[in-house]
């Protein structure tokens, strides 16, 4: 693999990061490869020594808290994954719109609830009187 191929693959794998974060990491790895080449390694050998690009991507992504789960990151289609925003933890209590709906619908569900309740009471009363006789 050439240096450019490695960096491109890495860049694709890190698409969930911010551009500056990803760029910083790319620069870091690019520098690492160049330093090895300067030492006398071939470009191919330098890239091999850095490690497997998929493993590196997975380990970078696993360090980031609460983003993409590591298993999904490894087999991801990057753009498809960008659509899937991380789930925020559910807020305790109700959303404001749900409260509004509840109040607006009250003239409907309150009488229905009372009616249902009354039916239950009536049934119990009937059954109870049957038992008595």
């Amino acid at each position: 693999m050439t240096k450019q191929e490695f960096l491109t693959q890495l860049q694709n794998g890190l698409s969930v990061l911010t551009e500056s974060d990803a760029q910083e990491r790319l620069n870091f790895y690019s520098e690492m490869i160049d330093d090895r080449i300067e030492e006398g390694l071939s470009e191919e050998e330098a890239v091999v020594q850095i490690g497997d690009v998929n493993e590196i991507t997975a380990s970078i992504l696993s360090e980031i808290p609460q983003r993409v789960p590591a298993s999904a990151a490894v087999k991801q289609e990057n753009h498809a994954n960008q659509q899937e925003t991380p789930k925020k933890p559910r807020k305790k209590g109700m959303e404001p719109w749900q409260i509004v709906m509840l109040i607006l619908g009250a003239p409907l569900w309150v009488p229905l609830l009372i009616a249902a309740f009354s039916v239950v009471i009536a049934l119990i009363a009937v059954l109870w009187s049957e038992v008595g006789s």
């Binding site: 520098e31 690492m32 590196i56």
Partner: protein, 106 residues
């Protein structure tokens, strides 16, 4: 080994690698290689963490037609090394005690 503990220790090792003078990424890995194997991604995270903790500073300098980042230890970084050394004196005494028990029973 507890991963947090190891992480903290590797941080200090990287500080030690730059305590005698500034260094750069690949050189740090090479200097540590006889003792510890460090991957690029681990080193990147450590350097970022140390920078945020103000234990080192970074500067970019031109080298052979490209930019290279050099890492320089700060006073806070040196303090951390000293702190580590005194913490581990205690640990070494305990280690001696634990292993001394073994040799008595042999």
């Amino acid at each position: 080994m507890d991963i947090q503990l190891k992480r903290g220790m590797l941080d200090v090792c990287v500080l030690a690698a730059i305590k005698n003078g500034e260094s750069y990424g690949y050189k740090i890995i090479k200097d540590m290689a006889p003792y510890i194997t460090l991957s690029e991604s681990t080193l990147y995270t450590i350097l970022k963490r140390l920078e945020n903790a103000q234990m080192l500073t970074v500067r970019s300098a031109e080298h052979g037609g490209r930019l290279r980042k050099y890492y320089h230890i700060t006073d806070k970084g040196r303090e951390r090394i000293e702190e580590f050394k005194s913490e581990w004196c205690e640990v070494m005494v305990m280690y001696q005690f634990v292993t001394k028990e073994d040799s008595v029973n042999d």
